[in-house]
Protein backbone atom coordinates (compact mmCIF):
# COMPACT_ATOMS: atom_id res chain seq x y z
CA UNK A 1 0.00 0.00 0.00
CA UNK A 2 2.72 2.44 0.96
CA UNK A 3 4.63 1.42 -2.16
CA UNK A 4 1.56 2.33 -4.15
CA UNK A 5 1.32 5.70 -2.39
CA UNK A 6 5.02 6.37 -2.61
CA UNK A 7 5.66 5.52 -6.21
CA UNK A 8 2.67 4.44 -8.25
CA UNK A 9 0.31 7.20 -7.15
CA UNK A 10 2.66 10.07 -8.03
CA UNK A 11 3.42 8.53 -11.43
CA UNK A 12 -0.26 7.92 -12.05
CA UNK A 13 -1.10 11.50 -11.15
CA UNK A 14 1.60 12.83 -13.43
CA UNK A 15 0.24 10.71 -16.25
CA UNK A 16 -3.37 11.74 -15.66
CA UNK A 17 -2.67 15.44 -15.34
CA UNK A 18 -0.28 15.36 -18.28
CA UNK A 19 -2.70 13.65 -20.65
CA UNK A 20 -5.67 15.69 -19.45
CA UNK A 21 -4.01 19.04 -19.98
CA UNK A 22 -2.44 18.06 -23.28
CA UNK A 23 -5.93 17.09 -24.46
CA UNK A 24 -7.40 20.30 -23.03
CA UNK A 25 -5.75 22.29 -25.81
CA UNK A 26 -7.86 20.59 -28.48
CA UNK A 27 -11.17 20.84 -26.65
CA UNK A 28 -12.90 24.17 -27.08
CA UNK A 29 -15.76 23.32 -24.72
CA UNK A 30 -16.22 25.89 -21.91
CA UNK A 31 -15.70 23.15 -19.32
CA UNK A 32 -12.21 22.53 -20.62
CA UNK A 33 -11.38 26.24 -20.71
CA UNK A 34 -12.67 26.51 -17.16
CA UNK A 35 -10.45 23.65 -16.04
CA UNK A 36 -7.36 25.44 -17.28
CA UNK A 37 -8.25 28.62 -15.39
CA UNK A 38 -9.11 26.59 -12.31
CA UNK A 39 -5.83 24.70 -12.25
CA UNK A 40 -3.81 27.88 -12.49
CA UNK A 41 -5.54 29.02 -9.31
CA UNK A 42 -4.66 25.65 -7.81
CA UNK A 43 -0.99 26.11 -8.61
CA UNK A 44 -1.02 29.52 -6.96
CA UNK A 45 -2.58 28.08 -3.83
CA UNK A 46 -0.05 25.25 -3.69
CA UNK A 47 2.75 27.74 -4.16
CA UNK A 48 1.27 29.90 -1.41
CA UNK A 49 1.61 27.04 1.03
CA UNK A 50 4.99 26.02 -0.31
CA UNK A 51 6.26 29.52 0.36
CA UNK A 52 6.28 28.53 4.04
CA UNK A 53 9.11 26.13 3.13
CA UNK A 54 10.98 29.01 1.56
CA UNK A 55 10.46 31.34 4.49
CA UNK A 56 11.61 28.62 6.87
CA UNK A 57 14.73 28.01 4.81
CA UNK A 58 15.55 31.72 4.63
CA UNK A 59 15.05 32.19 8.35
CA UNK A 60 17.13 29.12 9.10
CA UNK A 61 20.07 30.27 6.98
CA UNK A 62 20.15 33.68 8.60
CA UNK A 63 19.43 32.38 12.07
CA UNK A 64 22.45 30.10 11.78
CA UNK A 65 24.57 33.08 10.76
CA UNK A 66 23.41 35.15 13.70
CA UNK A 67 23.82 32.29 16.16
CA UNK A 68 27.34 31.41 15.14
CA UNK A 69 28.26 35.09 14.77
CA UNK A 70 29.94 34.52 11.41
CA UNK A 71 31.50 37.56 9.77
CA UNK A 72 28.74 39.87 8.65
CA UNK A 73 26.03 38.36 10.85
CA UNK A 74 24.67 41.84 11.35
CA UNK A 75 23.40 41.79 7.79
CA UNK A 76 21.32 38.76 8.60
CA UNK A 77 19.71 40.84 11.27
CA UNK A 78 18.88 43.40 8.57
CA UNK A 79 17.06 40.68 6.63
CA UNK A 80 15.04 39.66 9.67
CA UNK A 81 14.15 43.19 10.69
CA UNK A 82 13.23 44.45 7.23
CA UNK A 83 11.10 41.39 6.62
CA UNK A 84 9.25 41.67 9.92
CA UNK A 85 8.70 45.41 9.54
CA UNK A 86 7.37 45.01 6.01
CA UNK A 87 5.00 42.25 7.11
CA UNK A 88 3.82 44.33 10.05
CA UNK A 89 3.28 47.40 7.88
CA UNK A 90 1.53 45.26 5.29
CA UNK A 91 -0.93 43.76 7.72
CA UNK A 92 -1.49 47.13 9.35
CA UNK A 93 -2.44 48.47 5.93
CA UNK A 94 -4.66 45.46 5.32
CA UNK A 95 -2.80 44.69 2.13
CA UNK A 96 -3.92 47.97 0.56
CA UNK A 97 -1.25 49.99 -1.19
CA UNK A 98 -2.72 53.37 -2.07
CA UNK A 99 -1.77 55.93 0.51
CA UNK A 100 -0.65 53.40 3.10
CA UNK A 101 2.66 52.47 4.68
CA UNK A 102 2.82 49.42 2.46
CA UNK A 103 2.51 51.64 -0.59
CA UNK A 104 5.31 53.81 0.76
CA UNK A 105 7.55 50.80 1.33
CA UNK A 106 6.76 49.57 -2.16
CA UNK A 107 7.39 52.89 -3.92
CA UNK A 108 10.43 54.14 -2.08
CA UNK A 109 12.30 50.97 -1.23
CA UNK A 110 11.24 48.08 -3.46
CA UNK A 111 10.85 50.09 -6.65
CA UNK A 112 14.07 52.00 -6.10
CA UNK A 113 16.03 48.84 -5.32
CA UNK A 114 14.50 46.92 -8.17
CA UNK A 115 15.03 49.74 -10.67
CA UNK A 116 18.64 50.16 -9.66
CA UNK A 117 19.45 46.47 -9.71
CA UNK A 118 17.81 46.22 -13.13
CA UNK A 119 19.68 49.26 -14.41
CA UNK A 120 23.03 47.73 -13.49
CA UNK A 121 22.41 45.75 -16.67
CA UNK A 122 23.21 48.87 -18.67
CA UNK A 123 26.71 48.89 -17.21
CA UNK A 124 27.16 45.14 -17.46
CA UNK A 125 26.10 45.11 -21.08
CA UNK A 126 28.96 47.50 -21.78
CA UNK A 127 31.60 45.60 -19.86
CA UNK A 128 30.49 42.24 -21.25
CA UNK A 129 30.62 43.67 -24.77
CA UNK A 130 34.06 45.07 -24.20
CA UNK A 131 35.45 41.78 -22.96
CA UNK A 132 33.70 39.36 -25.25
CA UNK A 133 33.61 41.12 -28.57
CA UNK A 134 37.10 40.41 -29.81
CA UNK A 135 37.99 39.12 -33.24
CA UNK A 136 39.73 36.08 -31.82
CA UNK A 137 38.17 33.65 -34.29
CA UNK A 138 36.04 33.86 -37.39
CA UNK A 139 32.89 33.13 -35.41
CA UNK A 140 33.72 35.74 -32.82
CA UNK A 141 34.28 38.24 -35.63
CA UNK A 142 30.82 37.57 -37.03
CA UNK A 143 29.39 38.06 -33.55
CA UNK A 144 31.27 41.32 -33.20
CA UNK A 145 30.27 42.74 -36.57
CA UNK A 146 26.60 41.86 -36.07
CA UNK A 147 26.55 43.50 -32.65
CA UNK A 148 28.25 46.68 -33.85
CA UNK A 149 25.98 47.04 -36.87
CA UNK A 150 23.00 46.61 -34.62
CA UNK A 151 24.13 49.16 -32.05
CA UNK A 152 25.04 51.60 -34.78
CA UNK A 153 21.72 51.32 -36.54
CA UNK A 154 19.55 51.60 -33.46
CA UNK A 155 20.46 55.12 -32.34
CA UNK A 156 19.67 58.42 -34.07
CA UNK A 157 23.29 59.46 -34.38
CA UNK A 158 24.21 56.28 -36.22
CA UNK A 159 21.32 56.66 -38.57
CA UNK A 160 22.22 60.27 -39.13
CA UNK A 161 25.82 59.48 -39.99
CA UNK A 162 24.99 56.51 -42.21
CA UNK A 163 21.35 56.60 -43.35
CA UNK A 164 21.49 52.97 -44.46
CA UNK A 165 22.44 51.79 -40.97
CA UNK A 166 18.85 51.69 -39.68
CA UNK A 167 17.40 49.55 -42.48
CA UNK A 168 20.50 47.34 -42.45
CA UNK A 169 20.09 46.70 -38.73
CA UNK A 170 16.44 45.90 -39.33
CA UNK A 171 17.34 43.44 -42.08
CA UNK A 172 19.92 41.78 -39.87
CA UNK A 173 17.33 41.37 -37.15
CA UNK A 174 14.40 40.30 -39.31
CA UNK A 175 16.19 37.97 -41.70
CA UNK A 176 19.52 36.54 -40.60
CA UNK A 177 18.98 36.50 -36.88
CA UNK A 178 15.33 35.48 -37.26
CA UNK A 179 16.48 32.41 -39.15
CA UNK A 180 18.85 31.34 -36.39
CA UNK A 181 16.24 32.02 -33.74
CA UNK A 182 13.74 29.86 -35.61
CA UNK A 183 16.27 27.04 -35.77
CA UNK A 184 16.89 27.31 -32.04
CA UNK A 185 13.16 27.42 -31.29
CA UNK A 186 12.41 24.33 -33.37
CA UNK A 187 15.27 22.49 -31.68
CA UNK A 188 14.07 23.55 -28.23
CA UNK A 189 10.54 22.48 -28.99
CA UNK A 190 11.60 18.97 -29.96
CA UNK A 191 13.69 18.67 -26.83
CA UNK A 192 10.79 19.99 -24.78
CA UNK A 193 8.29 17.60 -26.31
CA UNK A 194 10.61 14.65 -25.74
CA UNK A 195 11.09 15.65 -22.10
CA UNK A 196 7.35 16.04 -21.59
CA UNK A 197 6.63 12.65 -23.12
CA UNK A 198 9.19 11.01 -20.88
CA UNK A 199 7.69 12.63 -17.83
CA UNK A 200 4.11 11.77 -18.71
CA UNK A 201 4.98 8.14 -19.35
CA UNK A 202 6.99 7.92 -16.17
CA UNK A 203 10.29 7.32 -17.96
CA UNK A 204 11.82 10.45 -16.49
CA UNK A 205 11.11 10.50 -12.77
CA UNK A 206 14.16 11.99 -11.16
CA UNK A 207 12.08 14.99 -10.06
CA UNK A 208 10.42 12.67 -7.58
CA UNK A 209 13.79 11.92 -5.98
CA UNK A 210 14.30 8.67 -4.11
CA UNK A 211 13.82 5.30 -5.76
CA UNK A 212 11.64 3.46 -3.30
Amino acid sequence: MTLFLRRTLPLLLTFLFGVAFAAQYYIPHPVSEGALTEISVWLRIILGFAMILGIASLCQVHYAKIRTRVAGWGYSLVVYLSMLITVAVGFWAGGQETGTGLGWVYTYTLLALQGTMFSLLGFFVASAAFRAFRARSKEATVLLVAAILMMFGRVPLGEYLVPAAGPLAGWLLNVLSLAARRGILIGISLGGIATSIKIIFGIERSYLGGRE
Binding site: Y26, L53, G187
Partner: protein
Amino acid sequence: MPGDSGGSVGLSWRAAPFNGPALRYQVFFGEQERGPYTQLAEFPANSHYKSDADRPWWSWDRTKNVHFYQVKSTRTLNLVNGRPYFFKVALTDGTQSLEGPVRSAVPEPNLFNWNKANNLLLMIVFSTLVLISISQAKRRPNIFLRRIPGLDAVEEAIGRATEMGRPILYLTGSDDMSSLSTIAATVILGQVAKRTAALDTQLKVPHRDPIVMAVCQEIVKESYLEAGRPDAYREDSNFFITSDQFSYTAAVDGIMLRERPAANFFMGFYYAEALLLAETGAGTGAIQIAGTDADLQLPFFITTCDYTLIGEELYAASAYLSREPVLVGTLRGQDQGKAFLLISMVIGTILATIGAFTGTQAFVPVLQLFRDFK
Protein backbone atom coordinates in the same frame (compact mmCIF):
# COMPACT_ATOMS: atom_id res chain seq x y z
CA MET B 1 -19.88 26.97 -35.58
CA PRO B 2 -17.34 24.14 -35.67
CA GLY B 3 -14.35 24.21 -33.36
CA ASP B 4 -15.48 26.91 -30.95
CA SER B 5 -16.53 26.99 -27.35
CA GLY B 6 -20.09 27.92 -28.21
CA GLY B 7 -21.61 31.36 -28.18
CA SER B 8 -21.52 31.80 -31.93
CA VAL B 9 -23.39 30.68 -35.02
CA GLY B 10 -22.09 30.21 -38.55
CA LEU B 11 -24.46 31.09 -41.39
CA SER B 12 -23.82 29.95 -44.91
CA TRP B 13 -25.93 30.23 -48.04
CA ARG B 14 -25.54 29.60 -51.72
CA ALA B 15 -24.64 32.69 -53.67
CA ALA B 16 -27.32 34.22 -55.84
CA PRO B 17 -26.67 33.80 -59.58
CA PHE B 18 -26.62 37.55 -60.13
CA ASN B 19 -23.90 38.58 -57.66
CA GLY B 20 -22.27 41.90 -58.24
CA PRO B 21 -20.54 44.65 -56.34
CA ALA B 22 -23.61 46.89 -56.47
CA LEU B 23 -25.67 44.30 -54.62
CA ARG B 24 -25.39 43.92 -50.88
CA TYR B 25 -26.34 41.22 -48.43
CA GLN B 26 -27.99 42.02 -45.12
CA VAL B 27 -28.00 39.61 -42.20
CA PHE B 28 -30.88 39.78 -39.72
CA PHE B 29 -31.23 38.25 -36.32
CA GLY B 30 -34.19 37.58 -34.08
CA GLU B 31 -34.78 35.90 -30.76
CA GLN B 32 -38.21 34.66 -31.82
CA GLU B 33 -39.23 33.25 -35.13
CA ARG B 34 -41.81 35.98 -35.58
CA GLY B 35 -39.33 38.66 -34.92
CA PRO B 36 -38.56 41.42 -34.28
CA TYR B 37 -35.45 41.14 -36.43
CA THR B 38 -32.45 43.41 -36.15
CA GLN B 39 -29.82 43.91 -38.80
CA LEU B 40 -26.43 42.57 -37.80
CA ALA B 41 -24.32 43.17 -40.86
CA GLU B 42 -24.35 44.40 -44.39
CA PHE B 43 -21.66 43.67 -46.98
CA PRO B 44 -21.18 43.66 -50.76
CA ALA B 45 -22.44 40.53 -52.44
CA ASN B 46 -19.04 39.66 -53.84
CA SER B 47 -17.47 39.26 -50.40
CA HIS B 48 -17.70 36.89 -47.45
CA TYR B 49 -17.30 33.66 -49.39
CA LYS B 50 -16.94 30.48 -47.45
CA SER B 51 -13.60 29.85 -49.13
CA ASP B 52 -12.30 33.18 -47.74
CA ALA B 53 -12.30 31.87 -44.19
CA ASP B 54 -8.83 31.04 -42.91
CA ARG B 55 -9.55 27.45 -42.10
CA PRO B 56 -7.92 24.16 -43.09
CA TRP B 57 -9.34 21.91 -45.78
CA TRP B 58 -9.83 19.00 -43.43
CA SER B 59 -12.38 20.77 -41.29
CA TRP B 60 -13.87 23.23 -43.71
CA ASP B 61 -15.72 22.91 -46.97
CA ARG B 62 -13.89 25.33 -49.20
CA THR B 63 -16.28 25.32 -52.12
CA LYS B 64 -16.79 28.59 -53.96
CA ASN B 65 -20.13 30.26 -54.41
CA VAL B 66 -21.23 29.79 -50.85
CA HIS B 67 -21.42 32.84 -48.66
CA PHE B 68 -20.56 32.68 -45.03
CA TYR B 69 -21.09 34.93 -42.03
CA GLN B 70 -20.28 34.19 -38.41
CA VAL B 71 -22.50 35.68 -35.72
CA LYS B 72 -20.55 36.06 -32.50
CA SER B 73 -21.57 37.06 -29.02
CA THR B 74 -20.79 40.67 -28.31
CA ARG B 75 -21.60 42.96 -25.46
CA THR B 76 -24.95 43.86 -26.97
CA LEU B 77 -25.75 40.44 -28.36
CA ASN B 78 -25.45 37.50 -26.03
CA LEU B 79 -25.85 34.10 -27.68
CA VAL B 80 -26.61 31.51 -25.03
CA ASN B 81 -25.57 27.95 -25.74
CA GLY B 82 -28.44 25.54 -26.30
CA ARG B 83 -31.02 28.22 -27.11
CA PRO B 84 -32.44 28.54 -30.64
CA TYR B 85 -32.01 31.80 -32.53
CA PHE B 86 -33.45 32.89 -35.85
CA PHE B 87 -31.70 34.40 -38.81
CA LYS B 88 -32.54 35.55 -42.27
CA VAL B 89 -30.55 36.97 -45.13
CA ALA B 90 -31.65 39.61 -47.58
CA LEU B 91 -30.16 40.70 -50.87
CA THR B 92 -30.57 44.35 -51.70
CA ASP B 93 -29.49 46.76 -54.40
CA GLY B 94 -30.45 49.84 -52.41
CA THR B 95 -34.01 50.17 -53.68
CA GLN B 96 -35.34 46.63 -53.80
CA SER B 97 -34.58 43.82 -51.46
CA LEU B 98 -35.07 40.09 -51.69
CA GLU B 99 -35.52 38.24 -48.42
CA GLY B 100 -34.49 34.65 -47.83
CA PRO B 101 -36.31 32.20 -45.58
CA VAL B 102 -35.95 32.32 -41.81
CA ARG B 103 -33.55 29.68 -40.45
CA SER B 104 -33.01 28.76 -36.86
CA ALA B 105 -29.75 27.76 -35.28
CA VAL B 106 -28.62 26.70 -31.84
CA PRO B 107 -25.13 27.66 -30.66
CA GLU B 108 -23.37 24.65 -29.19
CA PRO B 109 -19.90 24.22 -27.70
CA ASN B 110 -17.73 21.63 -29.45
CA LEU B 111 -15.78 18.76 -28.00
CA PHE B 112 -12.94 18.86 -30.46
CA ASN B 113 -11.40 21.68 -32.42
CA TRP B 114 -10.72 20.08 -35.79
CA ASN B 115 -8.67 23.09 -36.88
CA LYS B 116 -5.99 21.88 -34.51
CA ALA B 117 -5.97 18.33 -35.81
CA ASN B 118 -2.58 18.78 -37.47
CA ASN B 119 -1.16 19.84 -34.12
CA LEU B 120 -2.49 16.66 -32.53
CA LEU B 121 -1.14 14.60 -35.41
CA LEU B 122 2.35 16.05 -34.93
CA MET B 123 2.17 15.38 -31.22
CA ILE B 124 1.32 11.74 -31.88
CA VAL B 125 4.07 11.42 -34.49
CA PHE B 126 6.74 12.90 -32.22
CA SER B 127 5.63 10.91 -29.18
CA THR B 128 5.76 7.70 -31.16
CA LEU B 129 9.19 8.58 -32.55
CA VAL B 130 10.56 9.23 -29.08
CA LEU B 131 9.02 6.14 -27.53
CA ILE B 132 10.22 3.88 -30.35
CA SER B 133 13.72 5.31 -30.20
CA ILE B 134 13.86 4.72 -26.47
CA SER B 135 12.85 1.09 -26.79
CA GLN B 136 15.38 0.65 -29.60
CA ALA B 137 18.11 2.23 -27.54
CA LYS B 138 17.39 -0.17 -24.73
CA ARG B 139 18.14 -3.04 -27.09
CA ARG B 140 21.14 -1.48 -28.83
CA PRO B 141 22.62 1.02 -26.40
CA ASN B 142 25.73 1.99 -28.40
CA ILE B 143 24.49 5.00 -30.30
CA PHE B 144 26.95 7.57 -31.56
CA LEU B 145 26.66 10.96 -29.91
CA ARG B 146 28.60 14.00 -31.02
CA ARG B 147 30.51 15.98 -28.44
CA ILE B 148 28.98 18.91 -26.61
CA PRO B 149 31.97 20.95 -25.47
CA GLY B 150 30.22 22.48 -22.49
CA LEU B 151 29.65 19.08 -20.98
CA ASP B 152 33.28 18.05 -21.03
CA ALA B 153 33.87 21.16 -19.03
CA VAL B 154 31.48 20.11 -16.27
CA GLU B 155 33.96 17.55 -15.03
CA GLU B 156 36.82 20.01 -15.32
CA ALA B 157 34.93 22.69 -13.42
CA ILE B 158 34.11 20.36 -10.54
CA GLY B 159 37.70 19.14 -10.48
CA ARG B 160 39.00 22.66 -10.30
CA ALA B 161 36.68 23.58 -7.46
CA THR B 162 37.89 20.54 -5.56
CA GLU B 163 41.51 21.47 -6.15
CA MET B 164 40.97 25.01 -4.97
CA GLY B 165 38.80 24.00 -2.04
CA ARG B 166 36.06 26.37 -3.11
CA PRO B 167 32.34 25.68 -3.48
CA ILE B 168 30.33 25.14 -6.66
CA LEU B 169 27.34 27.36 -7.31
CA TYR B 170 24.47 25.83 -9.20
CA LEU B 171 21.35 27.76 -10.27
CA THR B 172 18.25 26.03 -11.59
CA GLY B 173 16.76 29.03 -13.36
CA SER B 174 13.88 31.32 -12.61
CA ASP B 175 10.91 29.23 -13.60
CA ASP B 176 8.82 27.03 -11.37
CA MET B 177 8.68 23.27 -11.27
CA SER B 178 6.10 22.99 -14.04
CA SER B 179 8.56 24.39 -16.58
CA LEU B 180 10.49 21.89 -18.69
CA SER B 181 13.69 23.93 -18.44
CA THR B 182 13.60 23.66 -14.67
CA ILE B 183 13.04 19.93 -14.87
CA ALA B 184 16.03 19.57 -17.20
CA ALA B 185 18.12 21.71 -14.84
CA THR B 186 17.22 19.56 -11.84
CA VAL B 187 18.13 16.39 -13.74
CA ILE B 188 21.58 17.83 -14.54
CA LEU B 189 21.90 18.90 -10.91
CA GLY B 190 21.55 15.25 -9.95
CA GLN B 191 24.54 14.36 -12.14
CA VAL B 192 26.63 17.26 -10.87
CA ALA B 193 25.79 16.35 -7.28
CA LYS B 194 27.05 12.80 -7.85
CA ARG B 195 30.43 14.18 -8.86
CA THR B 196 30.62 16.66 -5.99
CA ALA B 197 29.71 13.87 -3.61
CA ALA B 198 32.50 11.66 -4.91
CA LEU B 199 35.05 14.49 -4.75
CA ASP B 200 33.71 15.93 -1.51
CA THR B 201 33.23 19.41 -2.94
CA GLN B 202 30.78 21.83 -1.44
CA LEU B 203 27.65 22.43 -3.53
CA LYS B 204 25.51 25.54 -3.15
CA VAL B 205 22.11 25.83 -4.79
CA PRO B 206 20.23 29.06 -4.03
CA HIS B 207 16.55 28.96 -4.96
CA ARG B 208 13.74 31.28 -6.02
CA ASP B 209 10.94 28.76 -5.85
CA PRO B 210 10.29 26.74 -2.69
CA ILE B 211 8.93 23.76 -4.60
CA VAL B 212 11.97 23.59 -6.84
CA MET B 213 14.06 23.78 -3.68
CA ALA B 214 12.22 20.86 -2.14
CA VAL B 215 12.60 18.78 -5.30
CA CYS B 216 16.30 19.62 -5.53
CA GLN B 217 16.84 18.59 -1.93
CA GLU B 218 15.44 15.18 -2.78
CA ILE B 219 17.56 14.92 -5.90
CA VAL B 220 20.82 15.96 -4.27
CA LYS B 221 20.23 13.68 -1.31
CA GLU B 222 19.61 10.80 -3.67
CA SER B 223 22.80 11.57 -5.62
CA TYR B 224 24.90 11.54 -2.47
CA LEU B 225 23.31 8.24 -1.52
CA GLU B 226 24.12 6.79 -4.93
CA ALA B 227 27.69 8.03 -4.76
CA GLY B 228 28.01 6.24 -1.43
CA ARG B 229 28.51 9.43 0.53
CA PRO B 230 25.27 10.03 2.46
CA ASP B 231 27.42 11.35 5.31
CA ALA B 232 28.66 14.23 3.16
CA TYR B 233 25.14 15.42 2.28
CA ARG B 234 24.14 18.72 3.79
CA GLU B 235 20.51 19.72 3.92
CA ASP B 236 21.43 23.38 3.63
CA SER B 237 23.21 23.06 0.30
CA ASN B 238 19.82 23.87 -1.22
CA PHE B 239 18.50 27.04 0.31
CA PHE B 240 15.85 29.62 -0.43
CA ILE B 241 16.53 33.32 -0.90
CA THR B 242 13.39 35.04 -2.09
CA SER B 243 10.95 34.71 -4.94
CA ASP B 244 11.54 38.26 -6.13
CA GLN B 245 13.61 38.51 -9.30
CA PHE B 246 16.13 41.21 -8.54
CA SER B 247 16.59 40.73 -4.81
CA TYR B 248 17.40 37.12 -5.60
CA THR B 249 19.90 38.36 -8.17
CA ALA B 250 21.48 40.78 -5.73
CA ALA B 251 21.82 38.05 -3.12
CA VAL B 252 23.36 35.54 -5.57
CA ASP B 253 25.76 38.22 -6.79
CA GLY B 254 26.70 38.75 -3.15
CA ILE B 255 27.36 35.03 -2.71
CA MET B 256 29.59 35.03 -5.80
CA LEU B 257 31.67 37.90 -4.51
CA ARG B 258 31.96 36.73 -0.92
CA GLU B 259 32.18 32.98 -1.11
CA ARG B 260 34.01 33.00 -4.45
CA PRO B 261 32.75 29.74 -5.92
CA ALA B 262 35.25 28.22 -8.34
CA ALA B 263 32.55 27.18 -10.77
CA ASN B 264 29.14 28.64 -11.56
CA PHE B 265 26.44 26.67 -13.31
CA PHE B 266 23.49 28.52 -14.83
CA MET B 267 20.97 25.92 -16.01
CA GLY B 268 17.29 26.38 -16.75
CA PHE B 269 15.27 29.37 -17.84
CA TYR B 270 16.37 32.94 -17.18
CA TYR B 271 15.04 36.42 -17.66
CA ALA B 272 16.81 39.76 -17.50
CA GLU B 273 18.84 38.65 -14.48
CA ALA B 274 20.96 36.39 -16.74
CA LEU B 275 23.59 39.00 -17.50
CA LEU B 276 23.62 40.39 -13.95
CA LEU B 277 24.50 36.94 -12.67
CA ALA B 278 26.89 35.81 -15.38
CA GLU B 279 28.83 39.07 -15.64
CA THR B 280 29.37 39.21 -11.88
CA GLY B 281 30.52 35.60 -11.99
CA ALA B 282 32.89 36.38 -14.85
CA GLY B 283 34.39 39.12 -12.72
CA THR B 284 35.25 36.66 -9.95
CA GLY B 285 37.20 34.44 -12.34
CA ALA B 286 35.04 31.37 -11.85
CA ILE B 287 34.58 28.81 -14.61
CA GLN B 288 31.07 29.39 -15.88
CA ILE B 289 28.87 26.92 -17.65
CA ALA B 290 25.42 27.96 -18.77
CA GLY B 291 22.62 25.99 -20.34
CA THR B 292 19.36 27.62 -21.23
CA ASP B 293 16.46 27.48 -23.62
CA ALA B 294 15.68 31.16 -22.96
CA ASP B 295 16.57 32.23 -26.47
CA LEU B 296 16.51 35.92 -25.61
CA GLN B 297 19.11 35.50 -22.88
CA LEU B 298 21.46 33.23 -24.84
CA PRO B 299 23.56 36.09 -26.24
CA PHE B 300 24.46 37.19 -22.72
CA PHE B 301 25.49 33.76 -21.57
CA ILE B 302 27.49 33.23 -24.76
CA THR B 303 29.47 36.39 -24.11
CA THR B 304 30.07 35.92 -20.39
CA CYS B 305 30.34 32.18 -19.83
CA ASP B 306 33.11 29.78 -20.77
CA TYR B 307 30.67 27.27 -22.17
CA THR B 308 27.03 27.56 -23.07
CA LEU B 309 24.57 24.80 -23.82
CA ILE B 310 22.35 26.32 -26.46
CA GLY B 311 18.64 25.61 -26.36
CA GLU B 312 18.07 21.96 -27.06
CA GLU B 313 21.50 21.03 -25.72
CA LEU B 314 20.14 21.73 -22.25
CA TYR B 315 17.71 18.87 -22.65
CA ALA B 316 20.39 16.70 -24.21
CA ALA B 317 22.86 17.34 -21.42
CA SER B 318 21.32 14.89 -18.98
CA ALA B 319 21.58 12.16 -21.59
CA TYR B 320 25.25 12.87 -22.12
CA LEU B 321 26.12 12.97 -18.47
CA SER B 322 24.37 9.76 -17.55
CA ARG B 323 24.74 7.80 -20.80
CA GLU B 324 21.57 5.98 -19.85
CA PRO B 325 20.05 4.22 -22.86
CA VAL B 326 16.67 5.79 -22.21
CA LEU B 327 18.04 9.29 -22.45
CA VAL B 328 20.31 8.55 -25.37
CA GLY B 329 17.35 7.03 -27.17
CA THR B 330 15.42 10.22 -26.60
CA LEU B 331 18.12 12.19 -28.37
CA ARG B 332 17.88 9.82 -31.29
CA GLY B 333 14.13 10.45 -31.39
CA GLN B 334 14.66 14.20 -31.29
CA ASP B 335 17.06 13.94 -34.21
CA GLN B 336 14.53 12.01 -36.22
CA GLY B 337 11.96 14.68 -35.45
CA LYS B 338 14.37 17.35 -36.64
CA ALA B 339 15.10 15.41 -39.82
CA PHE B 340 11.39 15.10 -40.46
CA LEU B 341 10.84 18.85 -40.08
CA LEU B 342 13.93 19.63 -42.12
CA ILE B 343 12.75 17.53 -45.05
CA SER B 344 9.23 18.90 -44.71
CA MET B 345 10.54 22.44 -44.93
CA VAL B 346 12.57 21.71 -48.06
CA ILE B 347 9.67 19.99 -49.81
CA GLY B 348 7.22 22.61 -48.57
CA THR B 349 9.33 25.44 -49.94
CA ILE B 350 9.64 23.70 -53.31
CA LEU B 351 5.89 23.24 -53.46
CA ALA B 352 5.25 26.83 -52.40
CA THR B 353 7.65 28.03 -55.08
CA ILE B 354 5.99 25.98 -57.80
CA GLY B 355 2.64 27.20 -56.52
CA ALA B 356 3.63 30.86 -56.64
CA PHE B 357 5.34 30.45 -60.00
CA THR B 358 2.51 28.73 -61.78
CA GLY B 359 -0.28 30.22 -59.71
CA THR B 360 -1.77 26.84 -58.91
CA GLN B 361 -3.68 26.15 -55.71
CA ALA B 362 -2.96 22.43 -55.90
CA PHE B 363 -0.39 22.38 -53.10
CA VAL B 364 -2.36 24.47 -50.61
CA PRO B 365 -3.71 21.38 -48.80
CA VAL B 366 -0.18 20.08 -48.23
CA LEU B 367 1.10 23.42 -47.01
CA GLN B 368 -1.86 23.81 -44.69
CA LEU B 369 -0.65 20.78 -42.77
CA PHE B 370 2.10 22.98 -41.40
CA ARG B 371 0.00 25.93 -40.48
CA ASP B 372 -1.14 26.90 -37.04
CA PHE B 373 -4.90 27.28 -37.00
CA LYS B 374 -6.77 28.60 -34.03
